[in-house]
Symmetry: C2
Subunit: 660 residues, 2 copies
């Protein structure tokens, strides 16, 4: 059915104001050309090859090597002043890395020495390949806990420590391969799906869970649940009140108090950052001395025990690819790999923003991946860029990734000469260190900010927290991501539609709810659709637009104003349309015409216009009913409104539309 | 950091043109008020209670009853003219319902009589509760096949027919409850997530699979695979070529040719619709006569055999809630229920659109649900509104749902008196009827249309088709829905950004790619963001916007034009923002200021403005950098550009921004 009125109306060109511009339909592009463009926008939004353009081959080789190993880029510019700063920060983070490494390895149910191994090889790899200047590499509590809970479901570390260890290496290898391939496949944007709110809730939940796990160490319990949820832990703790050891608890609380006090001091005076950075090592030394002098290890205070002297033994032959538990290791590797990646990239990005330099997410993923692959072959488990250590590094004034190399060398010395010193370190000290670190991860201020600014983000954050604390780490994560995605889907499934009115003394048409001064145009209903028109919302929009028309007609009838004659859809914010959307527009056109109204579209975008033209909707509605701006559409409608006012032709057309 | 320049610049009000309108921040609404509004928009977009407003209680009761039972609304207006039309169409669809019902019941591996039972009770229920005037109720091929394949995995109909039958009733009951609760919970919009493209591909795939299954009947095979994918079926067919029966094949092909010929004739001359509607019954009568006269049933032509006389026996005690296979029945019920719902609602909506009346999706779901619950208690299996039968109903000129009542009465007579006549009906006739019906569902024309208009929809369609044909019905559906959702997510994850230019002789700023006549404004980069700013795209937008700025600066440097001074973001199409999006804007502001540029926002919507103000971004950027239109923003920037051209103050501010 063509536009039956077109021969009766004057050509619209004479009606439109001044310029008389028409809505442009972009010229058709070859299929593969447009496919190439959209793939490029999806996977290479940062256009990483731009710098290679127009360079001679030798220069391209240098740029390529610098792209893979950023150290080649900043290395030649390295100066003595930088070295001094990096030495200080490197030693500072090493003093934090030793106790944290041992603590987190215990948390992962792995031999404590692995925590030290993991602070030796991976930082060296990262220093070559990473693009962050502030990230300090090491193990993290959440990934350690996840390793323990996911692997522990299949293999108990206490029953079969060798298999458990090999599975942990395998999981690390898988995590590394997964991280590197995400980077190589340019899928870094998947990490963006962990929104800020999700991470805040998730981290706080994981911190809570990790703190609860430390009740075992603080209370000196020997039996403890393997579950991580708060209910199981509380039941486990309170079912054995008679086994609580007060010596252990007192020691633990004292050290915790000391650690929190130093943190408080450092926060008040940022230049004393080293107090809080050194504090964990201090407590380890103090605790070990205390045990050594009082022989408390013989009175039921558990200690770390003997640590093997020497550097990382190779472990590439330990990767358990033939094991029947391979699928568990793969699952653990993927989940911990994603979590570690999200934390590392978020931390790197935050500090880069502070110092105004740029971090390439995909490149970082490759660096994290390579460092974990290398780690899994040298007796390390999963490492990333922990927030606490990186913050200390930043505060200590690091200049480049050389601080990671300094830390690795310091750990190397420790491994070669100092490991016997940790024999008498009581486990309760490690629990205090973990709790102190975890309390800093519960970011209740951000949660309040989320509540104030965006209730939905707050719900996502709380869902992640509650899911982690009452369910498990994976459940919390899945719930939070699902709710976040639901929000995106809901945005598309239930788009906003607004009635627009004219802002006086101005050519703009704006939402009359937001701008109460905006005035309705008599006889014309202007609607703005604020989302792409896709299958998911086509049904809703059809309902909603007819309801807007109903309501407007009711309102006009009630106030005795002129009848509605035109419906203008402002398509400026419609970013895309699919075939369901086009059918919806066709239905709207029929509905509107059945009510004896006329439909006009204002400002459809290039893509939308292309599809409307291909599907013959442009022909069907009539090219003259597409306008560049709402203003021009209103102008044209008004012109016709005045022209047709006295006509009675509407009576005739009534029938015409009803027998479609 | 405040806006450091604000004390040096003149107040912006004097710069903005004429009206001097500011961007409005909507007044804060109480939390529960806004929650109520958004819940209403999500679940009650059609505002179903509107008609009840301001009515006396008695009228409300009548309206409420009419809402639940639409027959009370149109019944009193029913006339003799309508009855005549409904009689004709009711008898026509009954003649189609008998052979189709028997065929589809065979397809579902259920006793053939169930197909007749299912055309008796459910149509009566639908006639009371349904809001479509054209829908003819009955069983459908796809849901029948799904029932056979999903239940058949657990319980073989040939080995334990009673259990299989009871599970089929249970699945129907579950489907009914599920459909009704979707309607009651106002979750009808979930069906919208099956896009048009998905349904086209899925239906064609299911039709192909159903046709392949008929090779069993056509070739007269006795053994046949239980899988539905094309590879298993082909292997099954060609592994027993020696068992093909030519008598059966010749008979089947003749009947198929006859059926397709009548369809072709009816399509050419729509007024002969009854030829194609009556054809299936004709083939059944012809085939039965042929077998009866030649006693072919004794020479290896399988026939239906004895059918029980009498109306539907009650089956509510057969619902197998205690069965160990309950979960299979529940899964089957939910999947078939959704598929049946999608088909029924799509069919109802299409015909309603033809005749210009309105269908309420949620109400329809309740009607479908109630009809299946009633059906499951009266020996019926899953029914919906099949396209073929409804199209015949529509062509036969039905006026109201009374045609369903007429059909039910005709089936009732058949059940009571005529079932012995079907004893000699050969199964090969049923196979021909199914194939003829299925070929009509392969809508290759729409697939071509999808390819022309929207390549992505075509991919979705083909994915559904290939998934169904090579995998299984569920796999095809899951793949298609996943790809459709991926498209929505990709739209949000990779939003379009455009550079805007000024259209000459017009106050509009438009995408310079779409409108090559649009001109860049010297010294100002205007970018339009065409999607909500959410966590999923915040990272991408940050990268993309800095790349736009890089490219613009490169271009200006190459052409020797004036330096870039201002970046204006047109937020008109930004429908929403979350906390990740706000952080992104803050980062963009820092990036822009680090390059010694200034950021301005044009036309942010009410919701966005509210959140920006709550998170102090408005304060941070300076209220005077928010503009109602791009035009005003350009005006203000130009004013300052001319004022500041001679100043050297920029040199000083360079340092100021770098040590943030």
């Amino acid at each position: 059915m063509g536009n039956a009125d077109s021969d009766e109306y004057p050509p619209m060109e004479s009606v439109a104001d001044g310029g008389g511009h028409r809505v442009a339909i972009p010229p058709p592009r070859p299929f593969f050309e447009s496919l190439r463009c959209s793939l490029k926008e999806t996977f290479f939004p940062d256009d990483p090859l731009r710098q290679f353009k127009g360079q001679p081959p030798s220069r391209r080789l240098v740029l390529g090597l610098q792209y893979v190993l950023p150290i080649l880029e900043w290395g030649p510019r390295y100066s003595l002043g930088f070295l001094r700063a990096d030495l200080v920060s490197g030693v500072t983070i090493a003093s934090l890395a030793i106790p944290q490494g041992i603590s987190y390895a215990k948390l992962a149910n792995l031999p404590p020495i692995l925590g030290l191994y993991s602070s030796f090889v991976p930082p060296l790899v990262y220093a070559m390949m990473g693009s962050s200047r502030d990230l300090a590499v090491g193990t993290v509590a959440v990934a350690s806990l996840l390793t323990a809970s996911m692997l522990g479901k299949e293999v108990k570390a206490s029953e079969n420590p060798t298999l458990y260890l090999h599975l942990a290496f395998t999981a690390t290898f898988v995590a590394g391969v997964f991280q590197a391939s995400l980077g190589l496949l340019r899928l870094g944007f998947l990490v963006d799906f962990l929104s800020h709110a999700t991470i805040v809730g998730f981290m706080a939940g994981a911190a809570t869970v990790v703190c609860l796990q430390q009740l075992k160490g603080i209370l000196g319990l020997t039996r403890f649940t393997h579950e991580t949820d708060v209910i199981s832990v509380m039941r486990s703790v309170f079912s054995q009140t008679h086994e609580w050891r007060w010596e252990s608890a007192v020691l633990g609380c004292c050290f915790l108090f000391f650690l929190l006090l130093t943190r408080y001091l450092s926060k008040r005076r940022p230049k004393f950052f080293w107090i809080s950075a050194m504090a964990p090592l201090m407590t380890v030394i103090l605790g070990s001395l205390l045990v050594y002098l009082t022989h408390a290890e013989k009175h039921g205070v558990p200690v770390i025990g003997p640590l093997k002297k020497g550097l990382n033994p190779p472990s590439s032959t330990d990767l358990a690819f033939g094991s029947p538990y391979l699928s568990t290791a793969v699952k653990t590797g993927i989940v911990t790999g994603v979590i570690a990646l999200a934390e590392g990239i978020a931390v790197g990005r935050s500090f880069a923003m502070f110092k105004n330099y740029h971090i390439d997410g995909n490149k970082e993923m490759i660096a994290f991946g390579m460092m974990n692959i290398a780690g899994s072959c040298t007796s390390c488990y999963l490492t990333t860029g922990p927030f606490s250590r990186s913050a200390v590094n930043f505060n200590a004034g690091c200049k480049t990734a050389v601080s990671n190399i300094v830390m690795a060398i310091a750990i190397m010395f420790t491994l070669m000469f100092l490991t016997p010193l940790f024999h008498y370190t009581p486990l309760v000290v490690l629990s205090s260190i973990i709790i102190a670190a975890m309390l800093g991860l519960i970011d209740y201020e951000t949660a309040i900010h989320l509540w104030v600014v965006d209730k939905f983000d707050f719900v996502v954050c709380m869902a992640a927290y509650v899911g982690v604390v009452f369910g498990s780490v994976e459940i919390g994560l899945v719930i939070a991501v699902a709710i976040s995605l639901l929000r995106v889907l809901l945005f598309v499934a239930r788009p906003r539609t607004f009635v627009l009115g004219r802002i006086p003394n101005c050519n703009a048409y704006r939402n009359i709810e937001q701008y109460p001064i905006a005035k309705n145009v008599p006889g014309i209903l202007i609607l703005e659709i604020n989302a792409p028109i896709y299958f998911a919302n086509a049904g809703y929009l059809r309902e909603r637009i007819s309801r807007w028309i109903d309501e407007e007609e009711d309102r006009l009838k009630a106030s005795g104003e002129a009848n509605l004659q035109y419906v203008i859809l402002d398509m400026g914010a419609v970013g895309g349309i699919d075939t369901s959307g086009i059918s919806m527009l066709e239905e709207i056109k029929k509905t509107v015409e059945r009510r004896d109204l006329k439909l006009a579209l204002a400002n459809p975008g290039g893509d939308v216009m292309k599809k409307l033209s291909k599907s013959k909707f442009v022909e069907n509605l009539g090219q003259e009913w597409f306008f560049l701006t709402v203003e021009q559409a209103v102008g044209a409608c008004n012109f016709m409104l005045h022209k047709c006012k006295a006509d009675t032709k509407r009576d005739g057309s009534d029938e015409k539309w009803n027998n479609v």
